[in-house]
Amino acid sequence: MASSGGAVPFWRAAGMTYVRYSNICASLVRQCLKEPYRSESLSREKVHFSVSKWVDGKPEKPVIESLIVALVSLD
């Protein structure tokens, strides 16, 4: 799909990075599967980590990112 040079794709205009865009697409594909492959592949989507930004040599309160459900739900 050729777009005129200078026009950005919709997701870039919405502020998403390519990585996030491809993750959402992957999550959609995973939800199209049938059991039992669906639960297997949804288990590969679990995310858990804890981020804390440092300001002036001091850590701020950590933020736990835990996405156990799919990034986009189709219900």
């Binding site: 799909m1 050729a2 777009s3 040079g5 200078g6 950005v8 794709p9 870039r12 990075t17 390519y18 990585v19 996030r20 491809s22 993750n23 992957a26 999550s27 590969r44 989507e45 679990k46 995310v47 858990h48 980590f49 804890s50 981020v51 804390s52 930004k53 440092w54 002036d56 040599g57 001091k58 850590p59 950590p62 736990i64 990112e65 996405l67 990034l71």
Partner: protein, 322 residues
């Protein structure tokens, strides 16, 4: 002091004659602590306690080694498969460890748990070395730390340079989604010209090499491609989608960072398990040697105390009769 030892001798002799039980004697002796002045030898109870604890430690380290070996087997296949994700990127965009840019961000990958040998220290040493290499006027270096162990070490002397620290990565088994969300977070929060990822590459169960991979920001890639070299060939590729080159480069570098980070995390996890295996192996071997030495001491002490009892009895008997 001498009176005390004579009194003790007298006690021992009398209880020997009346009760005929060596165990009671042993427990009478063992109520003292390690070899105070005037006592004759280390009590066997203490040595026995030490032997018991060393044996427990040996069992635990052996079990940890087995656990690490099984985890290693699981992750190793994943890591080898993940190598295919970033090799095309290196073929396309090249790897430039010696690139000279203003804003360097060093991503150090380490483990959350300890007892894994020296791999975390080597990663931190390498990151510090890189920082020295890249520091200078007009250049700034920041750290992004993954894992508790590197955070603990870097906090000691480079507190001001840490940008983000990320922990609790290993709660779920590794998958691409987790690492890519992480990469997304890092990309959003950190300004960079070049990202250097420091991790331990897994060559085999006994060899883990600290490595550095460089991911450049799209502007720098653009700049480099003007000057030629590998990146200069980028123009000769036909790009589907018809978007501008800068757009494609931006997507590519983001994806490259996510893939490279994924591979680095997997390799580091493999190295961690391998290092833990060898560390636990050597520690159970050391525990075994310690146990041997303690057994010898124990037997020697036991035999010495039995001999002393016999001597006392016989000399006491001969004193009574003769």
């Amino acid at each position: 002091m001498a009176m005390a030892s004579f009194r003790r001798e007298g006690q021992r002799l009398s209880s020997m004659l009346y009760s005929h039980s060596i165990n009671a004697l042993k427990s009478g002796v063992s109520s003292q602590e390690l070899a105070p002045v005037g006592a004759r030898s280390i009590s066997t109870q203490i040595v026995r306690n030490r032997m018991k604890s060393v044996k427990n430690i040996q069992k635990i380290t052996k079990a940890m080694k087995m656990v690490a070996a099984s985890k290693l087997r699981a992750i190793q296949t994943k890591a080898e498969k993940s190598r295919g994700l970033w090799q095309p990127f290196t073929a396309l965009l090249g790897d430039y460890p010696s690139i000279d840019v203003k804003k360097n961000v060093i991503v150090t990958i380490s483990s959350d748990k300890g007892l894994c040998g020296g791999i975390n220290s080597t990663s931190v040493k390498m990151s510090k070395g890189f920082r020295k290499l890249n520091s200078g006027p007009d250049k700034e270096v920041k750290y992004v730390v993954l894992g508790e162990k590197a955070k603990a070490q870097l906090v000691r002397d480079s507190k001001k340079d840490i940008e983000i620290s990320i922990t609790e990565l290993q709660k779920n088994p590794f998958n691409y989604t987790q690492v890519s969300v992480l990469a997304d977070d890092i990309l959003k929060n950190v300004e960079y010209d070049a990202l250097r990822i420091v991790f331990n590459k897994f060559h085999s169960v006994v060899s883990f090499v600290p490595t550095v991979t460089t991911v450049l920001s799209p502007e720098v890639v653009e700049r480099e491609s003007e000057t030629g070299g590998k990146l200069g060939d980028l123009d000769s590729y036909e790009i589907e989608g018809g978007e501008t080159k800068a757009e494609v480069l931006q997507n590519l570098t983001e994806f490259q960072f996510a893939c490279v980070l994924f591979n680095a995390c997997m390799e580091n996890a493999c190295s961690e398990q391998g290092a833990r295996m060898s560390a636990m192996d050597s520690s159970s071997r050391n525990a075994g040697e310690m146990l041997d030495r303690l057994t010898l001491t124990y037997n020697r002490t036991r035999q010495a105390s039995i001999t002393t009892e016999l001597i006392e009895i016989i000399s006491g008997a001969s004193a009574l009769t003769g």
